[in-house]
Symmetry: C4
Subunit: 290 residues, 4 copies
């Protein structure tokens, strides 16, 4: 599964049609080495950025009140443009289903969906901000291949450690449930903040994660002692996810370091250590490669 997930982060490969208008369209929309492709990319980024800015401004009430009609027409325009773009993308790739299921394909769909959902559920209007994720394309467009490789490495590392992190976070949540309910027992009669156990659990999460809003804070002496204990606990266990990720990055880098050029000529095993002279599987002597 990990490899699967990472592959979906890439645009679909082997998807370029061989000839005709679809090949040309593909070159413009998906690639950026032609003049038309570059212009398309820059216009697209500008559209995404301006549409995100429009939604943000729209949410500021006095601004919205003054320019109601402008905002509505702009939103309509963006929806039409992004829908056309999505249809074009679908129509010019060789395997539309593969594109639709790829990481960018899903983002592209999610970016237009709220505009249509809005007709039925007006509250979903601001979910259009999911469009901002389309900005991830910037990395691809500006040939920032190195950045992409870095993010692949990041994603790989996180996927490899996700089991440990899931175990860790379940533990943190259970701890918050338990400590929150103890705090409730200690505080609920003397403190208007600890009105119920879910509220206390919310407070425990705010405290363990060291966020500490201060909208709810312990009042009793016992509550403060337990709170101090929870804080120190949160301060100490933040080390765990960090340790997991650090160790994984180092592993990743070590595997990168393992001599990729040495391959046993006999059994074709790769990934020998740097000081290896004989294949560890078949005992055949390894040849030196520069």
């Amino acid at each position: 599964m990990p490899v699967d997930v990472v592959d979906k982060l890439e645009d679909p490969r082997h998807s370029k049609p061989e000839e005709g208008w679809r090949e040309k369209l593909y070159e413009i929309i998906f690639e950026s080495h032609t003049r038309a492709g570059k212009i398309f990319d820059i216009v697209l980024i500008a559209l995404i950025l301006s549409s995100v800015a429009v939604i943000m401004l729209e949410s500021i009430e006095p601004v919205y009140e003054r320019h109601k009609i402008l905002f509505r027409s702009l939103n309509l325009l963006y929806t039409i443009l992004f829908t056309i773009e999505y249809i074009l993308r679908l129509s010019c790739v060789k395997k539309p289903a593969e594109y639709a299921r790829s990481f960018y394909g899903i983002i592209d769909l999610l970016a237009i969906l709220p505009s249509y959902l809005e007709i039925f559920f007006p509250h979903t209007h601001f979910l259009m901000l999911i469009r901002s994720f389309r900005l991830l394309r910037i990395f691809r467009i500006f040939k920032m291949i190195n950045f992409l490789q870095e993010s692949r490495l990041l994603v790989f590392s996180l996927i490899r450690s996700y089991r440990k992190i899931v175990v860790f976070l379940s533990f943190v949540v259970l701890l918050a449930v338990f400590l929150g309910s103890i705090m409730y027992v200690l505080e609920y009669e003397k403190n208007p903040g600890f009105t119920s156990i879910p509220q206390s659990i919310y407070w425990a999460i705010v405290t363990i994660t060291t966020v500490g809003y201060g909208d709810i804070a312990p009042h009793t002496a016992l509550g403060k002692i337990l709170a101090s204990f929870i804080m120190i606990l949160g301060y100490a266990i933040i080390a765990v996810p960090t340790g997991i990720v650090s160790a994984n990055f180092l592993k990743e880098w070590r595997q990168e370091k393992q001599n990729p050029l040495t391959r046993c000529e006999h059994c074709l095993l790769e990934g020998h250590e740097f000081d290896a002279q004989y294949c560890r599987r078949c005992g055949h002597q390894l040849e030196e490669q520069s």
Copy 2:
């Protein structure tokens, strides 16, 4: 002791009776490869989840006021069911004492104890939320063996670093005591927040751990300077537990990856990878060692 602690995290092994109704009951309650076992596990998880939800809802006063009788009967029901379950578990294992002292055995007991304590100490009612820890069984039930192994590794690493972490946390507490009392001297006449030294120590812990509620904050210039120093200190020393755990994870992983038992009989090189069959230095065949 470390090994001991980790072993207690597992269900008792070698505890399955060889025949009779106890063997069948064991299969249903402790195992999950039979149909009855699967149904039992799912019902159990559902019961735990719903009982946790009931306790949480109960703590919200307006909800409780409206459904008082419902909540009381539900709590009685859960207590009876979990007690029966605990008795069944005890009766079907070969060595009941071993189960009772195992990690899950203790959790199972703690989950029913508050219901009985409540008769004498009404305030312990919400400690029933300790039941939520029974959800840890989810990992075992759904055959998430990999997750369990990961958590074993986590627990191992933490146990190996617990001495360093204890030393570190004692130091943090002593620091909080000392800095809190200095802050008290600086602030107590000008600031209604720093009413006493224990209160100042509480503030110092809130600050060192970077939680920062803001319910108490320095008012004087000197107090703010010292507070800035404490914050920077807390920001810097959070590196210590993280460093400890990171280094330990790496050690753990290194030891896991390299077979410490394999040694080339010919050139005496140690530390071969687990899949190695031939020495990477001299090409001599490695012998199998258990």
Copy 3:
């Protein structure tokens, strides 16, 4: 580019004139092994420190009101002195353009610029505090070469990981945009704090980074649940930059410790320690390589 950036952190090398008054001036201003040079350095540090203190005091209104004229004349004096110093520095180096573009050259310019900008934009007055960065010279002046090397290593490591960190931070910002807009949808009608999407994004950043001012906090149940999720997320992903930097420090140190240029001519083993004179595998003498 990385090497370039780090080189700019150093004072221009090979820039000392060979003879005449410019050589002497260079010795006084840029070097510190002569008596005059030492006095110049100490006076300079004193001037920078006092000018920083003056600007800080000036910003406290009651203090400023009482000593208006004193502050104005002091500021004029500092501006004149630092301008003269900058001109002298430019005039005594061999390649003034190189100095002007170096790290310290830019800081020196930025330290006097706001004084002149102030004539046109009064609000830039307090940007003069950029002078405080000139204090970085302290490391160089007091022969704290080890500290400088350490900071080079730090800067190197950070530069090597900047791509990963940029990818990570863009991701955090996109996440804040997305989660902030969801929170806005959940809270804006019941909570006077979430007035607009930009405000909600600000809140999301305050929460993800675990700062947690508490000036805005969720009021609705759903909002609190999402906020808890965001906090736990922030608590978990702080592990990512830490992991990146930890792994890079280790790489840096490894590369520092092992001489990459030394290779045994006989058995081709690489990665000998710096003090190695004989191959640790075959005992053959290692040849010196520059």
Copy 4:
């Protein structure tokens, strides 16, 4: 210097007198293998703990008002007892000056000093809480040698990384000065919290370190944008000290791991890598040792 500092953490070695009452006193006070020594240690810990508790209770005004005379006499008693103890310690070691300058010697002195300073400066009364540091003796007394070794390792690692951490923290402080003064320019007319630059710097430190009290928070749009930037910066650079310490812990452990048993018979060089067969300094073959 590092070695020096760590040595001071230990009680003075080779300091035990050879004979007479001083030897016996030394055994009681400094050692704990005799019956009298154990009793002395337990009484001492009890005295320290109770004296710390007394000072804390004393600071709670209503408690103090009621038991004024009791507190005064208790404080007098503790001062007398700890002074006698300090004099006895000085008198029974072979080299009193060495003890007085050792880590524990300084703590012991600091624990009685405030009681005498109080006569002249009443405000130093609560500095007596420095006595709590004497509790560090617990580690030594209860033969928790492993804990001591761990703390030595911790202290070693921190001392080795102190240069990098000093550079890093100076940078954080300069950043806080600079960003604080920009925030002051942006906010001071619209926000009663940002009254002066020192106040803004205090706010910047509260924010960079992710403490986030919320007693001061930005009001303007520009201020919030800059604040968001500062938070993300603080969130990212916390990785730096953690990375430094992690890398150092690993180094420490690696050096521990380097085969301590292998020593070149010819040139006596120690610390060969595990796969070394020939001395890297003189090329002499290393002998196998179990």
